[in-house]
Symmetry: C7
Subunit: 96 residues, 7 copies
């Protein structure tokens, strides 16, 4: 499979289908102006550095199911499947 | 119950019904351009770090009743109930 | 009485009536584009932290009469009375 | 007389009449898009703090005649006289 | 061949043809509002410095295939071939 | 003569006439969208401080002929002559 | 010849003619929204200081052929010849 290593504090995620959402007990209201969407973290970026040069740890890990802002990130298709590259700071929360 | 752990300095809150508001002695004026709303803190985020890498403490705790800006945060429905994920800095105050 | 503890460097203030203003010798011009208003500090917030983690002292104290920007802050009604939650930095000065 | 202590790095100034200006040798062109105006410093604020917590000294003192930007500051009337509360950084220069 | 050394944290990249993309298993959706594009890193810039004066390492190296934002960078033609000069921070990820 | 001491990192300059410009070998193109103009530094401000509280030295001195941005600064007339108060950072270069 | 010493981290450059460009193997596409242009560095500024007061070195030197953004800088004519004063950060790369 072709692979993408996100640069810096970015992550690669894959949107989860709406069916998966209701099965997992998470549903997203139709009326919200900006609906978050559920996705799964596929790979972490090369990492960022803070002002003192220390590596910033990611708060998510591969396999985490996350809520992401609907409009964040950039779409990319790999081997026929759609993914999103987005800044970790655009992830709202981890679903468990 | 499905669960959401907010990322960083975000919190998960649940809006309180208007009835609860007047019962508690807090009412919100109809005429204000941006009306704050009362909500209850359901869970705290993974936490933020300051410039020196020290963890930033949350000023609210789970169960706190808080006033939130009407337009802050992002709606999300969990197990059929509506919640809000929002930055702690968008919480105006704690109701007691 | 229901109570609100503002979060961070915010304060809770109560607008003073126009009558109180003229009695106190402070009057506000009708022609100014942004008229300041007189108010009384009701409670201080939980406080802010500077870059080194030290608590930032409030420059106002409870009971201070202050001039506030007309458009700053957020209205909130507590036990039937209107208050404002606003950042301390939106307070222009202390009236004495 | 009612009194106002400006908050932080703000100052309270009183505009000088146009007559005073020409008498003092300072005249302001009619054609300039943003005309500075002459004013007198009435009182200094509570003072600001720099990043290291040290007090920032005011560069003006009470009684200084200053040039101020026409659109800076907020009008306030005290005991029937108009004043301006403005950030010291909006003062362009000291007239001597 | 004429040569360009990008200044600072910039890199010089060469867009890869759409054919190369599908052959490599990477395809870009037609519907995305901002489509990333695949490119190859041709040369690295003179490098940036962080706040402490230490050189910031590049996260990409010459020859890396990268995904770039469609609208980032500036076009330049060298010896008849088109290139892009862009900030490294506008590179979304490394394709492998 | 009335005098103005600019505040902070500002300088007081006096525009040089167009005749002076061509005589000195400096001419300004009619077609440029933002034409710089030649001026002479009349007085330096009270000075600025950097983040560590150290005084920032001026890069220009009284009497320097400088190129200034056409739209920078604020006009002020002193004893019938027009001057400009402007930030030193709006000076493009020193003419010699 | 009249001379201009740019202030701070600015440089003085002279645009190179389009003929020079194609001769040197560098051509600029007609279709690019913002076309870079080739220029030669004529003089360096007085230099900038970083947050610790240390002088920031220029990454270009006098005589360097550089690619500049089409819309960056300010035009100025010296002894009948057109130059540009621009921030070094608006130089995209060095041509060799």
């Amino acid at each position: 499979m072709a692979n993408i290593k996100p640069l810096g504090q970015r992550v690669l995620v894959k949107r989860l289908a709406a069916e998966a959402l209701s099965a997992g007990g998470i549903a997203l209201p139709d009326t919200a102006q900006e609906k978050p969407q559920e996705a799964e973290v596929v790979s972490l970026g090369t990492g960022g550095k803070d002002d003192d040069g220390k590596t910033i740890e990611f708060s998510v890990k591969v396999g985490d199911k996350v809520l992401i802002s609907k409009y964040g990130g950039t779409d990319v298709k790999i081997d026929g499947q759609e993914y999103l590259i987005m800044s970790e700071s655009d992830i709202l929360g981890i679903v468990s």
